[in-house]
Amino acid sequence: MAYTKPIPDPDPVHRPYWEGAREGKLMLPRCTTCNRVHWYPRLLCPFCHSREIEWIEASGEGRIHTFAVQHRAFGGWADEVPFVTAYIDLHEGDRMFTVLRGVDPTKPETIRIGAKVRVEFERANDEVSIPFWRVVEE
């Protein structure tokens, strides 16, 4: 089935992330000066301002930091309401935004901040796959 929702248009700074996603890998930028992982990708490390940034393959694990249930959306997403959006604390550090899978949007009281999540990828077209995070067993 065709992917009907917005498809990212990778720019040069962010390209390694999207190239990784296409191969089913979660790639994150890490500063080799201070060793901290940051998200989203920068030209300078946001912590120590070094230019020395490498891309690492992440574990693909994280935990829910906070979430909301979207009952109003636009474009392709309008067909999917309600859906759950969440900020994910990455195992490697810093935070990512996603649409959460493996949860019931009609029962937000059953969704737990701190719950373990794992990344998965959905193919949007030949060039782009999009990461989503799914709640998994501890």
Partner: protein, 402 residues
């Protein structure tokens, strides 16, 4: 001891466009600006030609051209709804530095009319956002659109961290509505002015349509038209006009992030930093404040901000409303115009905060048009806090009566 800039300038007048809210005939943002500017000039007796600094959120060169002005200071800072509090901060510094004498801070926004005009007349570009913007690549692809879809995440985290509930925050909407019922210009003044107007209960708030759980419709601000303008002038001028001055005792600004991806603590904003700067400049503290005008794009915005301003303990900002202190007749009035929740919210609401703070501290809050008996409070100091973006940017002012 107050800082050097404290009371170096005063707000000498504050006025609105002729028609605000939901105008029957669509208005452009420029019309809303110009009406408010003409009105504040007439209110103060300061001719438009005497304005030598122009401050607005993105409009300054267009406004100066429209008015035929050749300003000495042009500031068009546009960082969301707190821009206008920042403009006051910048105007204070420019006046103190001797660069200008009279600063115009203006806002016009046709949040309501733009629906009828198909987005024309807003003064903003109409194209799609830049797809290479990080926010587009890493947030918008996941279906968030508009402020409520973002702000809801803050409420969930506050509830988790402090054990607060959406019902606790609903009290903010209920109390703010009580103030709107004293302001005939408020959208939600009465059932006659709007079918959804008049008194509401916590149950009404919780039972209204879910927009972005845990935010229901009545946790969210309105979308309206608004034009507002204030004049800021040096003390000698402030003493010579027919209106009462309201002194700028303190000012500060800060930011936590632009994109919510970078929000470190979802229960805190940079208002803690901007308020600390404003209190320091004023030589005053939270205990010296007698009322507050707090940006309430959502109930959660107001609740968290009250904590950041030091008006309530962490996790308990909503208590100011829940226990009635913020309500009409209460010990600590907040959002006496009826707020963004029930009065008017054009998109960037910081000007509405300024106009109401001026009215309260100049004792002109009950003129029958913008306020009925019971709206004027006896406060002599007011903390004003604007919040822009996605709980991103903040500007704080400490204003005091003459």
């Amino acid at each position: 001891m107050p800082g050097a800039l404290s009371r170096a300038a005063a707000i000498i007048g504050a006025a609105e466009a002729d028609e605000i809210g939901y105008p029957a005939t669509p208005k452009t943002a420029l019309q809303l600006h110009i009406e408010a500017i003409k009105n504040v000039s007439e209110q103060t007796g300061i001719p438009i030609s005497r304005i030598d600094g122009v401050f607005s959120a993105g409009w300054s060169s267009q406004l100066a051209e429209h008015l035929g002005l050749r300003p000495k200071y042009i500031d068009t800072t546009s960082v969301g709804g707190c821009s206008f509090e920042m403009h006051v901060h910048h105007a204070l510094a420019a006046i103190h530095a001797g660069i200008i004498d009279v600063a115009l801070i203006s806002h016009g926004e046709n949040g309501w009319s733009a629906r009828a005009t198909g987005g024309r007349g807003t003064g903003r570009p109409r194209g799609a956002p830049d797809p290479w913007d990080p926010g587009q690549q890493f947030q918008a692809v996941y279906g968030v659109a508009g402020a409520p879809s973002n702000y809801a995440h803050a409420m969930t985290r506050h509830n988790y961290r402090f054990g607060s509930t959406p019902e606790d925050f609903a009290h903010i909407a209920v109390v703010t509505r009580q103030w709107a019922m004293l302001n005939p210009r408020a959208i939600m003044f009465s059932k006659e002015t709007n079918p959804g107007g008049g008194p509401i209960t916590v149950e009404d708030v919780q039972n209204s349509r879910v927009v972005a759980w845990p935010l229901t419709l009545l946790h969210c601000c309105l979308v309206t038209d608004y034009g507002g303008a204030v004049l800021v002038a040096r003390p000698e001028i402030a003493r010579s006009v027919k209106t009462k001055p309201v002194w700028i005792a303190g000012a500060g600004e800060s930011m936590g992030h632009q994109n919510m991806l970078e929000m470190e603590d979802f229960t805190a904003t940079s208002a803690a930093a901007s308020a600390a700067a404003a209190y320091r400049m004023a030589g005053m503290g939270p205990e010296d404040m007698e009322m507050a005008m707090i940006y309430d794009s959502f109930t959660v915005t107001a609740g968290i901000t009250a904590e950041m301003l030091g008006l309530a303990p962490r996790g308990e900002g909503f208590m100011l409303w829940k226990d009635g202190r913020a309500a009409p007749g209460g010990k600590f009035p907040i959002n006496t115009n009826g707020g963004g929740l029930s009065f008017n919210h054009s998109g960037m609401y910081g000007m509405q905060l300024l106009v109401e703070a001026y009215r309260q501290l100049s004792r002109t809050a009950e003129d029958g048009v913008t306020g009925l008996p019971g709206k004027q409070v006896d406060a002599r100091s007011c903390i004003v806090n604007g919040t822009g973006g996605s709980l991103s940017t903040t500007g704080t002012l400490i204003l005091v009566a003459d």
